[in-house]
């Protein structure tokens, strides 16, 4: 062995390479050993977890009622984790009537206090984990600890706090979010914040209004977007003001929200928003109009069907094709717009909702009554181009035939 060693040393570079080989082989062995050990350890851990879960589930009613004292499971890490997981899973699916019993268990065992302390005093992953678990408890006393974490210098921690507050799902949890956000001190991804606000303000959208009035720019747009999702008829007046906002995103959100307001109030505003300068505002207005019951909406939708933006046209076509009133009359009006894009969009939607045949049949009757007009020629051309393949759409043959003056 000694002679081998001196021989390698004499080789200089070769000795270095030999050592590199040894280190590589050692590295491979260590990685393989780690994989084997980890698999073995996980197998053992899950077996224990399974056994303890069964044991704790057998005593579950007593644990929940406090007959089994918290100290019996709280001080064992595995038992504590199992009980906490079960409690949090139950809280997530429980109604307000079942919640107090689960919260009482969390409080009486001291587990809630432990998580609050962790959320305040630890750092890194344990803090984030504590924040998320605190949110899942839906306990009101969790809100201050979660709110404190919004000021953390770590973005990951702030995100965990926002998600935690979102899971509390109460308007009180929305307040720290809104206060910091409006003062532009909260830097988190917008999607996370919007979802948290959505969860917290569901059922109480009026909480957003004062903050919306204080906010500007992007902040105002985001709050308006959440409001657009949550608004209810009680916010009618506020929404009318927002519909005249200089920010297009706010107008679009107002349009979305106006779908939930009385048609008498919302229709005039939506009619105006349907000719807005921004296409997405027009689109939102058309979507809102589609859910309103109002006799005059056909005219607005026909105008939207000729919009320069294809999304607006498609949505208007979608709504018109699904309206209850006579499709042939609407089709006739669409033809009268002299807009082939509009006609194509409408025919396409009629086909998708299975009404094309009936509409063309009705239109054939109309053509027979008033043959020879330019409009009729126009629709006949489009129908021939797209639908008049033999047997494809029965009404198409009738339209094409009627336009050509054949019986």
């Amino acid at each position: 062995m000694g002679s081998d060693s001196s021989w390698l040393r004499d080789l200089g570079l070769a000795w270095l390479v030999a050592r590199a080989i040894l280190f590589s082989l050692l590295g491979i062995l260590l990685l393989v050993a780690f994989i084997v050990f980890r698999r073995w350890y996980r197998g053992r851990y899950f077996a224990r977890l399974n056994t303890r879960t069964v044991a704790l589930r057998e005593q579950w009613a007593d644990i929940l009622s406090g007959k089994v004292p918290g100290s019996a499971w709280r001080l064992n890490a595995l038992d504590c984790q199992i009980v906490e997981d079960i409690l949090l899973d139950n809280i997530e699916v429980s109604g307000n009537d079942q919640l107090p019993a689960f919260l009482a268990c969390l409080r009486n065992s001291g587990l809630l206090d432990l998580r609050i302390r962790e959320a305040r005093s630890t750092e890194g992953w344990s803090r984030r984990s504590a924040l998320l678990n605190l949110g899942r408890t839906r306990a009101p006393e969790a809100v201050p600890a979660l709110a404190e974490a919004l000021a953390s210098p770590s973005e990951e921690t702030r995100v965990a706090a926002v998600r935690g507050l979102g899971r509390v799902s109460s308007p009180k949890a929305a307040l720290p979010l809104l206060e910091l956000f409006v003062s532009e001190e909260l830097k988190v991804p917008e999607h996370t914040l919007k979802n948290a606000l959505l969860n917290c303000c569901r059922g109480s959208p009026e909480v957003l209004i004062p903050y919306l009035n204080l906010a500007n720019g992007r902040t105002r747009e985001l709050i308006a977007r959440v409001l657009g999702e949550l608004a209810d008829p009680s916010l009618g007046e506020e929404l009318l003001i927002l519909a005249a906002d200089p920010l297009p995103e706010v107008r679009a959100s107002a349009a979305r929200a106006l779908a939930k307001v009385e048609p008498e109030v919302s229709f005039p505003v939506l009619s105006t928003l349907a000719v807005d300068t921004e296409w997405f505002v027009r689109l939102r207005a058309v979507i809102a109009l589609s859910s309103l019951e109002h006799t005059s909406k056909v005219h607005i939708l026909l105008r939207a069907l000729c919009d320069s933006n294809r999304h607006v046209r498609q949505r208007a076509a979608w709504t018109l094709a699904r309206m209850q009133q006579g499709k042939e009359l609407i089709l006739e009006k669409v033809v009268a717009t002299h807009d082939n894009y509009a006609l194509q969009a409408f025919l396409s939607e009629l086909e998708r909702c299975g009404s094309l045949d009936a509409a063309l049949d009705g239109l054939g009757n109309l053509i027979e009554r008033a043959p020879g007009s330019a409009d009729v020629e126009n629709v006949a051309a489009v129908v021939r181009e797209h639908f008049a393949a033999p047997g494809k759409v029965a009404g198409a043959e009738k339209v094409a035939g009627a336009a050509a003056g054949k019986p």
Binding site: A20, K194, E351
Partner: protein
């Protein structure tokens, strides 16, 4: 002569050493990033993405050419994905088999007069079809331009969502893969412009009714070696490069992109040999030219299962084509090299791709030749030669074992002891003789490219995604 051989051997040694050290660094970064991702996932509720009204819609683009064996299964699988606002656009690229017939018969397609605006120029679209049963399905029937890129571009034109996800027709996405990949965008929608997911090998797994029922390892050596190769490439390479915003490629089999950006750069380049690599390099170029802050991300857990070549001939063709694509794209992007405007892309990843990916087979071949020559002429110790080879082999195997470790720690798609043992065993063969085989195939790619042979050779498919394996 001897001096030349000595210099050549020393250069080769330094090349190997640097290559291995870079790979080791990538492995360490990848272990950190994978662990970080796993922790982040714990706080993210995927079902929240599914139920949120703020989740952006996605158009799934499925270019299909002669895919009659798997198209129906793939489309069914895509229509069942868990994502709130999803549109599936299949682009039949002038298939000469029964692809279009299969689609018509199985999805009750009807020609639809949907308006199609060719924002990116493509070969003519001759028919647009909608499914009566599946309103979210749109099928474009187009003439062929002889490339997949053109079909994808037609899909981009027809898409109505702000994000488009490109998926191969012979691939199966896991049910939550779109939610998972979208998590990479919604965490920072201002900066993240594209995200790639992991592609895994479907061969050997049990698939029923277009759903992956049980993940299993493939049966043949060539497929097993590709499993290891994919794990190393995705879990180590892409994860680590993405950490530094240096991701050079998003697989054409599974990636998501901002549609507006694709339109601005003219979509996928129709004359590119490797359109996926070319697109990412052009995105880097465009966004650096604009001077905007952006990120091209990789997320390791949204999984796309795809059929890998199961015979040597098909694999050789595929690898030759990939290498032609690499060479083609790097050559087109040569003006980005070492330019301050392109930052780390021009200074780090493109030089790396030139040296350690594109030229590696040539350098390896040259190295093997000079080492053997030097050994024959007595200018190199035979002991040293063997040691050097062993070092290269052992170090590279270490990286492969590291990728199996990453798989085992974070994703565990291969659950049994037996499967993990097989993965570890095949790590021993990835760098000998598989690496040398791929070297020859890649050299063939270089030769074909230099000859101007840019033909797309169809890879033989067995339809692994449609039926259970025996």
């Amino acid at each position: 002569m001897l001096l030349f051989l000595q210099i050549s051997n020393n250069s080769l040694f330094v090349f190997y050493l640097i290559s291995n050290l870079i790979n080791l660094a990538l492995l360490i970064v990848a272990i950190y990033m994978n662990t970080l991702h796993r922790y982040r996932l714990e706080s993210l509720r995927l079902e929240g993405i599914g139920s949120s009204p703020f989740t952006p819609p996605i158009s799934l683009l499925v270019p299909a050419r002669n895919e009659e064996l798997c198209i129906v299964a793939s489309v069914r699988s895509l229509l069942r994905l868990d994502y709130p606002q999803l549109e599936v656009i299949v682009v039949n690229d002038a298939s000469q088999d029964g692809t279009m017939r299969e689609l018509r018969e199985n999805f009750n397609l009807h020609q639809s007069p949907t308006l199609y605006i060719s924002e990116i120029a493509t070969a003519p679209v001759i028919g647009i079809y909608r499914s009566i049963e599946h309103p979210r399905l749109l099928v474009l029937d187009k003439q062929s331009a002889g490339c997949k890129a053109d079909a994808i571009n037609a899909g981009i034109n027809a898409a109505s969502s702000p994000y488009v996800c490109v998926v191969d027709a012979d691939s199966i996405l896991e049910k939550d893969s779109l939610s998972r990949i979208m998590a990479g965008i919604i965490s920072d929608p201002e900066r993240v412009v594209a995200v790639g997911g992991i592609v895994r090998i479907l061969n050997g797994s049990i698939v029923e009714a277009a759903e992956l029922k049980e993940v299993r390892l493939p049966r043949t050596h060539i497929e097993m070696l590709q499993v290891i190769e994919y794990l190393r490439a995705f879990l180590v390479g892409r994860e680590a490069w993405a950490a530094f915003n240096l991701l050079p490629i998003i697989s054409g089999a599974f990636g998501i992109f901002r549609r507006d950006l694709l339109l601005k750069i003219g979509g996928f380049r129709a004359d590119a040999v490797g359109e996926d690599f070319d697109l990412i390099v052009r995105l880097h170029r465009y966004l650096n030219d604009l001077g905007v802050d952006y990120h091209i991300n990789f997320i390791p857990d949204p999984t796309c299962w795809t059929e890998a070549p199961s015979d040597y001939k098909s694999l050789a063709r595929q690898r030759a084509r990939w290498h032609k694509g690499l060479l083609d794209t790097l050559w087109r992007a040569r003006d980005m090299l070492f330019r301050t405007r392109y930052g780390r892309v021009g200074w780090i990843i493109l030089p790396y791709m030139w040296l350690f990916e594109c030229l590696a087979p040539l350098l390896e071949l040259l190295g093997y030749a000079t080492i053997i020559l030097a050994a024959v002429l007595g200018a190199l110790s035979q002991h040293f030669f063997i040691q050097f080879m062993l070092f290269g082999y052992a170090f590279a195997t270490l990286i492969s074992v590291g990728s199996v470790l990453l798989e085992e720690m974070n994703y565990r798609r291969y659950g049994s002891w037996r499967e993990v043992a097989w993965l570890l065993v095949y790590c021993l063969f990835e760098h000998f003789p598989y690496r040398q085989m791929t070297m020859i195939w890649r050299l063939r790619g270089v030769w074909e490219y230099l000859r101007g042979d840019l033909t797309w050779h169809q890879v033989k498919r067995t339809g692994a995604s449609t039926s259970p394996t025996p």
